[in-house]
């Protein structure tokens, strides 16, 4: 799901937790910085970071589809329908208010920054690496199995739902037409999909038990990753910059 991840890029090659700390620190900084302009600068910096990681295309597409749409709707709703006194312009029954616009821009940039950080993180980290790193931090192996198995299952089930829909179409179920006709396809598609998946769980349970899934000893990994010395340096530098900005913000508040 993570798309193309090139390991030769220096930022991409970092240990998952290091990248995770950077993303979290970035998101917190974006929230605490005052004013719209500094938040916008933060978002610009995030774009530069994505560009440097070599995943700008995926990043831009996902940001546009998730936070972008939200941003536009947010600006429209808050500008026209929030309470405020300073009227910028008005037409027909609507009037745009400055307070609403400023609030929308501020909230919009906060959301864009938080969303962008997460999108950046998952675009440069495979879920497999991230879950493995979390497991080393103490996540139970059952939980990591659930996450990884879900990620594998989504594309499989999606493909199977298309097959089932084609099969139902072949026996005469209409999949195009009015809303009622289309809605009626939903049940004949989802029910066989769920049934066939649930039937498979018993075999899967046997397979897992045969490999000692429920054994309560520390498990070993066939695929493994380790943090490198550079990860420690990057984490410390990120931490220092983060503390500097937080302290600076508090000082600014007190003055």
């Amino acid at each position: 799901m993570a798309g193309a991840v090139q390991k030769d890029n220096k930022i991409v090659a970092l240990y998952p937790m290091t990248k995770f700390y950077i993303a979290i620190a970035f998101a917190i900084v974006a929230v605490i910085l005052p004013g719209i302009i500094s938040k916008a600068i933060c978002f610009a910096a995030l774009n530069v970071l994505a560009l440097a990681s070599g995943i700008y295309k995926i990043f831009a597409k996902r940001v546009k589809n998730s936070v972008g749409v939200l941003f536009i709707v947010l600006v429209v709703i808050q500008t026209f329908f929030a309470a405020g006194d300073t009227i910028l312009f008005s037409f027909w029954i609507f009037s745009a208010k400055l307070e609403g616009l400023l609030f929308a821009l501020k909230l919009g940039f906060v959301l864009a920054n938080i969303g962008g950080c997460l999108i950046w993180f998952f675009a440069i980290t495979t879920e497999k690496d991230f879950v493995l790193a979390l497991e080393k931090k103490g996540l139970s192996s059952k939980a990591s199995y659930v996450v990884l198995s879900t990620l594998q299952m989504v594309p499989v089930l999606k493909k199977r739902s298309e097959t089932i829909m084609n099969a139902q179409r072949a026996r005469g179920v209409e999949t195009e037409g009015s809303l009622l006709v289309r809605a009626k396809v939903f049940v004949p598609t989802i029910v066989p999909l769920v049934l066939s998946s649930i039937q498979g769980t018993e075999e899967r349970a046997l397979t897992l038990e045969a490999r000692g899934f429920s054994v309560e000893t520390k498990s070993t990994h066939l695929y493994d990753i380790e943090p490198k010395p550079v990860d420690k340096t990057v984490t410390i530098i990120t931490g220092l910059i983060f503390i500097l900005i937080v302290v600076g913000r508090i000082v600014l508040c007190l003055i």
Binding site: N65, S66, L70, V73, Q78, L118, S149, T150, S161, E202
Partner: protein
Amino acid sequence: MATRNKGKETFSLMVILLIPIAIAINIVGGQLTSLLKIPVDLDMIGVILVGTLAGPIPAAVTGVLTNLINGIMDPTWLPYAFCSFFIGISSGLLSKHNMMNTIWKQVISGIVIALVATVTATPITVFFFGGSTGGGSSMIAAGLMATGVQIIQAVFSVYIVTECIGKLISVFVANVIIRVLPERTLVKYRFGEKFIKTSNK
């Protein structure tokens, strides 16, 4: 260890294997509704299914994980994990108190779950996203706001309608699935036995 496979503990292996399927059904169900252009959100069928079969805690885990995994591609899903958590808990508790057996009880359960969803989702939409849901429903909300309704009331009234329709259908679909599950599968889940008696009638 002896009771491990009887399916009575909260997280038996059968439940652990059911959760990924339920999450995948939530995600595929959501994609299917947009593929078929059905204007209702049917992305909680898996959560209701797990709640009905395996109880509140596994359903809550399913709900939260659904939102986290959807959040990988679209981070706007993440705050609603709170909402999915309560949908899972409520559907599990409803099943525990035999509220999923007959069609009238299912209607009541659907409305209860819809109310839970509305009450938890409205504050998130209003405070995190300033009233914007990003979907087609926010256009209806904007239309309501244009007539002078407050943002929170507009979002609430849009949600209560869409959620009631969506959750009622989801409860029915989940029950259709349970009805056709073989008994040998049903007995492996905590509340599965409740559905065996009715299918033997």
